[in-house]
Symmetry: C2
Subunit: 352 residues, 2 copies
Amino acid sequence: MTAEFVQDYETFTLGDFPLQHGDTLEDAKLAYKTFGELNADKSNAIVYPTWYSGFHWDNEWLVGEDMALDPRKYFIIIPNMLGNGLSSSPSNTPPPHDKANFPKVTFYDQVEAQHKLVAEHFGIETLQLVTGWSMGAGQTYQWAVSYPDMVQRAAPFCGSSKTSEHNFVFLEGVKAALTGGDSFKGGFYDVKPEDNLRRTGRVYAGWGFSQAFFWDRVYTDMGHSYRLGIDLAFPTLEDYLVQYWEGHFLDRRDVNDLLSMLWTWQYGDIGQTPGFDGDHVKALQSIKAKLIAMPALKDLYFPPEDEVYASQYIPDGEVRVIPGVWGHFAGSGDSAVDRKWIDDVIRELLAG
Amino acid sequence: MTAEFVQDYETFTLGDFPLQHGDTLEDAKLAYKTFGELNADKSNAIVYPTWYSGFHWDNEWLVGEDMALDPRKYFIIIPNMLGNGLSSSPSNTPPPHDKANFPKVTFYDQVEAQHKLVAEHFGIETLQLVTGWSMGAGQTYQWAVSYPDMVQRAAPFCGSSKTSEHNFVFLEGVKAALTGGDSFKGGFYDVKPEDNLRRTGRVYAGWGFSQAFFWDRVYTDMGHSYRLGIDLAFPTLEDYLVQYWEGHFLDRRDVNDLLSMLWTWQYGDIGQTPGFDGDHVKALQSIKAKLIAMPALKDLYFPPEDEVYASQYIPDGEVRVIPGVWGHFAGSGDSAVDRKWIDDVIRELLAG
């Protein structure tokens, strides 16, 4: 018996898609997956964008009949980010926008593409909720700013509306790991530069979880990952580094795709939405959604204080800090405890 | 007029120096610099070891007539770590222990080498103080465990007696940045792999200072660096990354030397001192020095809680947390405010 990869998603044709920085992405595609049924008055939709290096299946842990994102009640759309390898990306775009020639994509562009799917394809005019982890949180904020009358509720977790300078510098390290070396060939490789992907895993490993996560050696018994559908337990630190981190980046991730998403992340700022002239505070003030931000207590690159700062400008904004030692990866779906915590908050938000 | 490099240090010959892991380093040398005069009964000595990638001149900011480490009163010895490029190191050792063949050196070895200098060369039997930043703090702890009757006082700042697992993982990222690529040639390069050094600077940049340091954009006006003897101010983040971080690693640093010190750091543990059988707590309990640990509030790889944990086992141990946003680099000598703070604590410790 041979394992078979069944395509479990659909593709929406964006056509020639103009980008904020001036390029046009020809024959652009948005890969997405939906759960549940859109109701008759199209009032039960939720958008739940993907994160850095994530695919739609990496988001599914927050969807289920026992969850707030209940497909019996809601029509849940998970759009894959442009650049993630399923939607239009360096790795799947023909010349002239192939590989390192892929144009720069902003959070604004991501949401414009998703809005086309949501509004033009599905005819949806209101969203009960937009939610997402990390860069998914960045897209959540962007939705709330780009379409303030459409987004009723927003639940960004472990992310921000503007990439902080420290976060930018952390990403410079990731970028340095991804690039360079002879196998990279300036992005025009034919053979995947595996060394760069392994190196990226090593560089990322110190950032994803907190200092206390390692102090407590949680990696030896991480419990059930609802994202991966397996129990995670690594006997040694080296097992954890190789299997969890290097393995993640080696598993169908492409270096140019990762660099494309990294650029989107580094330059994330809702203040760059047309009409706001770079004014981040003004953009926050324009949000009409009831918004609960959920930073994680020990997140090393999206620290809670940044979200507390932003929240003061959001008219109906609130911050709930995810407790515990998982740091950024509290929102990954690999922590069963944090999954419940996040689900509880989303349930409360949807009820209000 | 040509700038001339004047050798401002002395060299002590260790001879054939046995290492804890079994190798012998032939014709080993210890480079050191002293300040002040050893008094008649040899009772006024202080040892102040160097840090990761640091040379003795990077330590001098804490020494001065207006400082606790007053050369009019004390005889201050700054020994360069084995591996730092001045003492025996991959970059200056002939075959068979040249380059990537340089043997593994532990903190225990470092202190054995320094003890030879202090006891055999200078005939010193008591130390008023051992102090140091980062890996210098690691050597400080090692001194207090290896020679408990000799070390009267200890002031480790921004370091630890055992490298935590998170710290180890952070260093895996640094190691991944240092190694790899065709120019590295597995450590047997003839031409310095500059790309690796630049990449290391980028990877390190997110770790050295705190998130809040960047939030406050302190890099635009860091004030006077007593270490470098200049005011530090970088108009842009990129200037800071290139000049402060890449510049640091490109300035006379050697990749194999950095890898040698990195190994020492990763495997740092006073519990590995002979006689303690790996028992870190027992080693802490053996310390007789009056010890004040000074972790920095927002240090990302030596968090204060680790020092609070260790301190409970040190009979005369105490923790004072360096406030502010400089993170690990509070102890670098680049922060004038933190320099005064550290100096004040050392002054108090020396008075008691």
